[in-house]
């Protein structure tokens, strides 16, 4: 039985082999024993290839003197020289920095404050406010940006209304500050989720201990809970910064009219142009990546030994909220105002706008009410096609992505440590790649790789790009549930005589069903919302809702944009609420 001693095969698939087969030739035997391992490594390497595939053509193109579809190219730094000599690139880099900084500051601050208030203070209507505050997560940033633009933009309804009636002028949102504010507000719920889960991980006894030592409730919150949130704070800053660099909707809708360019719009403009300078675009993409890497490195060195912040929980105890009395009502009211201003009113306005041919505070609404916008969208094949495409990409792509995630979770957590580290490392690579860069990279890869022609101009290429982009999120959602399962349940099947695949089929799949549904729905909603990566990849027959909305907006058709937004909301909101309202 020495064959079972092979440490590379903890799964022991060999135990199922009929005795007769073991008597085969020695080399054949060793290959058969290795099969599960080979399968695992193949899957892991395929994942790696998939997730880095957008990067390689970009890196290659950035240092190449000819467009990638031409042969006989040679290495050069000319692209970077052109890039760094471009004054618009300079301006875009500086603008990106300020934009990301403002967005990060606002998102982190608001998210942090919201988490402290909603998770730890006893205020009236806490749960309702929580759902309201989280709602921007359900809605695509693109849609919110449209809504804000129509309401608070320089020619927006509220802006004109306030100026005409009250003589108050709103600050111009078509500026770096305004863009940063909007990007920050869209990202604030993400920051909130970060901090709230961090707060939930701090055992309540740490606070009770401070209380017993003599600290008042609020003082315990400030001296114990707050410092323990430092790692989350830094991580959240990092995440927000990367998200801001990656942000396309707000810079496109608010930056373009004011001729403010950031790196993402710089890339977008040059990437979608018909006469694209491939070398320049690739060089800019690489610079963008480098910026993100620097932020990540900075975060790591700032944090030091994370165990200083790791808490070990005892038994879970019901966590008391800090009582506030009358102040609680004031905080609740402030909170409600914030959510109404940022989400409630803009969304309501967007819905109203979709039923109007034109909107201005100077014209009574009943005279402009119409269903034309919806008729236009639903009466035009290309628009309907984009809705159908989006649904296909989100459903089929989401399902395939979920299966891939599941397979890789098994590869990662039921194998050797080496393989696990490799998969974990690989799975999070796309976190550091902006959506636009994924789009450009996949587009180049399809040009460069043999057989790429077959998927160019199909929905498959969109699905691949979206999967790459959201794999880290899906993986992060599925794996905790998988880890919680514990290996012993599967081992019990093996001991009872079942094989590895049977143990997965009989135990893992049924027990993970709800986590897998959650993972699929997450992919579904994200794929539905995605537009940045799609901008470079869609063809005449493969437009998705996001790209159609951007085109309509460029043409100034605000009514149809609003109608399409409402259609999107109707299709995704129930699912999104289902995902986030579960807990």
């Amino acid at each position: 039985m020495q064959i079972l001693g092979n440490d590379g095969d903890p799964s022991g698939l060999t135990t199922r082999l009929p005795v007769g087969m073991i008597a085969g030739s020695r080399s054949l035997r060793s290959i058969i024993i290795q099969i599960p391992n080979i399968v695992r490594w193949t899957l892991a390497v395929l994942l790696f290839a998939l997730l880095v595939s957008p990067m390689l053509p970009i890196a290659y193109q950035a240092f190449s003197d000819k467009p990638l579809y031409e042969s006989n190219s040679s290495l050069t730094l000319a692209n970077f020289r052109t890039l760094f000599d471009d004054p618009r690139f300079h301006a875009a880099s500086i603008a990106t920095f300020w934009f990301a900084l403002i967005a990060t500051a606002i998102s982190t601050f608001v998210g942090f404050l919201a988490a402290l208030i909603l998770e730890r203070l006893d205020i009236p209507f806490r749960r309702t406010l929580k759902i309201l505050f989280l709602s921007p997560i359900f809605v695509s940033a693109l849609i919110l940006a449209f809504a804000w633009s129509m309401l608070f933009g320089p020619s927006g309804y509220a802006t004109i209304f306030l100026r005409a009636i009250l003589g108050v002028s709103l600050p111009n949102l078509n500026s770096i500050g305004g863009m940063g504010l909007l990007a920050g507000v869209t990202a604030a719920p993400v920051s909130y989720l970060f901090f709230s889960s961090a707060i939930a991980n701090i055992p309540p006894t740490l606070e009770s201990a401070a209380r017993a030592a003599g600290a008042a409730p609020f003082s315990a919150l400030m001296t114990i809970v707050l410092p323990l949130l430092r790692p989350s704070l830094l991580y959240c800053v990092l995440l927000n910064f990367v998200m801001a660099i990656d942000h396309l909707a707000v810079p496109l809708i608010f930056g373009e009219p004011a001729r403010i360019e950031v790196l993402s719009t710089y890339l977008y403009e040059r990437g979608v142009a018909t006469q694209a300078d491939y070398g320049l675009v690739s060089a800019a993409a690489l610079v963008m990546l480098a910026m993100i890497q620097i932020v990540i490195l900075a975060q790591k060195s700032l944090l030091g030994d994370v165990r200083r912040y790791t808490t070990v929980g005892g038994r879970s105890v019901r966590r008391g909220l800090v009582p506030l009395g009358r102040t609680g009502w004031i905080i609740s009211a402030a909170f409600l105002t914030y959510t109404l201003l940022t989400t409630g009113i803009p969304s309501a306005f967007l819905i109203l706008r979709s039923f109007c041919s034109f909107m201005s505070p100077l014209i009574p609404i009943h005279s402009v009410l119409t269903l034309e916008n919806f008729k236009l969208i639903l009466g035009y094949d290309a628009y309907v096609q984009s809705i159908v495409n989006t649904l296909i990409v989100a459903t089929v792509g989401g399902f395939v992505a979920m299966l891939l995630t599941f397979a890789l979770a098994i590869v990662a957590y039921r194998s050797s440590t080496r393989l696990r580290r490799f998969v974990e490392f690989t799975a999070f690579i796309p976190r550091a790649i902006p959506g636009i860069v994924v789009g450009i990279g996949i587009f180049y890869a399809a040009v460069l790789l043999p057989g790429g022609g077959y998927i160019r101009g199909t929905l498959a290429i969109l699905m691949i790009a979206f999967t790459i982009r959201y794999f880290p999120t899906g993986f992060a959602v599925l794996t905790p549930a998988y880890l919680q399962l514990g290996e012993d349940l599967e081992r019990a099947v093996r001991v009872a005589g079942g094989g590895e695949l049977r143990s997965i089929w009989a135990v893992t799949l049924p027990l993970l069903r709800s986590a897998m549904v959650g993972c699929f729905l997450l992919y579904f909603v994200q794929f539905f919302k995605e537009y940045a990566a799609a901008s470079f990849l869609f063809g005449p027959d493969t437009a998705v809702i996001g790209t159609t909305m951007l085109q309509l907006d460029l043409m100034g058709n605000l009514g149809p944009v609003a109608a399409l937004s409402v259609i999107t909301l109707v299709l995704t909101l129930p699912i999104a609420i289902f995902i986030y309202a579960k807990d």
């Binding site: 600290a215 323990l228 005892g314």
Partner: protein, 357 residues
């Protein structure tokens, strides 16, 4: 002696679920009291109520001369104003602070100057032989060290009582024995009124002046360690502390003996007139039961029963023997293995204690 803690009619329920009912208890100043009971008996809830981490649904809590909780008078002093020390089962050391910072935190809250609080914190650490650990973070400490730092943190400001929630349960067996002696030492050195929650009877018996045995949210018995062990009042107390055998029956001879359903008569050490005429149990410690191979050898007064051995477990110093008798299954601890499967046992009257069922 003054009382440090007085509980009057403490009750606690979550909706319809009654966790504690009518608890009355006095903890004397400077004493070491254990709240002993199995998990779910309400002992931690009671400790939290004394500490102010949980609110009862009825009754009064006095700490020394102060009323800190009263349902009737609408008094509820929060934890931080009770001046108590609390050690949590998980120790709850703040991971982002060093040992020294952890210990000086309560002094900081009490607005002591920087140098003064550092001096007092260091002094406390020295006393508990933790001086060398001052600049470490909690994650760099062993379990035993964490437990001692947690105690240092909770007594550095001289609280009026020290509340300990199973502080030894996270230590391994060997360490626990040493920590027990250390804890007793601390109590004697500082003279602090201490209340310990534990499910470990050895811990309660070896440490406490007063043991409060709890069962299903009620006080089963209160007494010194030897009272609880030697004179259990109920079958539950005798069984939970020291694992006595319980034989059920009815009182006979005005409470000086018991007769089982099978008609076996067992005389008890002390007449218990309170139980006369009603149901009664006899408790006998397994090590007090004697195996006798020949009835003629017997010079001790007591009941003799035939004993059919079912299981023999060798523990090293003793044999644990389980067997069937006419009064049910009994557990016997002896220093020798039984010679035959069917033998006799003697229940010495001197060791048969009458208890309430």
């Amino acid at each position: 002696m003054q009382s440090a803690v007085t509980l009057v009619g403490i009750a606690k329920s979550y909706g319809n679920l009654k966790v504690l009912g009518d608890i009355n208890l006095i903890v004397r100043d400077g004493s070491f009291t254990s709240l002993l009971g199995p998990s779910g008996c309400g002992k931690t809830t009671l400790l939290n109520i004394i500490g102010g981490l949980d609110r009862p649904t009825g009754g009064e809590v006095h700490l020394g001369p102060d009323l800190v909780y009263s349902e009737r008078q609408q008094v509820s002093l929060p934890t931080e104003r009770r001046n108590i020390g609390f050690v949590f089962q998980s120790y709850a050391l703040w991971p982002h602070l060093t040992v020294l910072e952890n210990v000086s935190y309560p002094l900081k809250i009490r607005r002591l100057g920087r140098s003064e609080r550092e001096r007092r914190a260091r002094e406390m650490l020295e006393k508990l032989e933790l001086g060398v650990l001052a600049d470490r973070y909690p994650f760099q400490l062993s379990g035993g060290q964490q437990q001692r730092v947690a105690i240092a943190r909770s007594i550095v400001y001289r609280p009026r009582i020290l509340l300990l929630d199973e502080p030894l349960s996270n230590l391994d067996a060997q360490l626990r024995e040493r920590a027990r002696a250390w804890l007793k030492n601390i109590h004697e050195t500082f003279g602090l009124t201490t209340i310990l929650v534990t499910h470990d009877q050895t811990e309660a018996l070896s440490l406490s002046d007063q043991v409060v045995l709890l069962s299903q949210g009620r006080i089963e018995q209160v007494g010194t360690a030897s009272e609880i062990y030697d004179r259990p009042e109920t079958a539950y107390a005798a069984e939970f502390v020291g694992g006595a055998n319980i034989i059920r029956g009815r009182a006979a001879d005005a409470g000086s003996a018991m007769v089982t359903e099978a008609g076996i008569r067992i005389s008890v050490r002390q007449k218990n007139p309170l139980l006369a005429g009603g149901a009664m149990c006899v408790a006998i410690r397994p090590q007090k039961i004697k195996l006798i191979d020949d009835i003629a050898d017997n010079f001790v007064h007591g009941a003799v029963l035939p004993f059919a051995v079912t299981t023999v477990l060798y523990h090293g110093s003793v044999y644990e023997i389980l067997g069937r008798t006419q009064v049910g299954e009994l557990r016997v601890l002896t220093d020798r293995a039984p010679e035959a499967t069917n033998t006799n046992i003697l229940l010495p009257t001197e060791d048969c204690i009458s208890v309430k069922p």
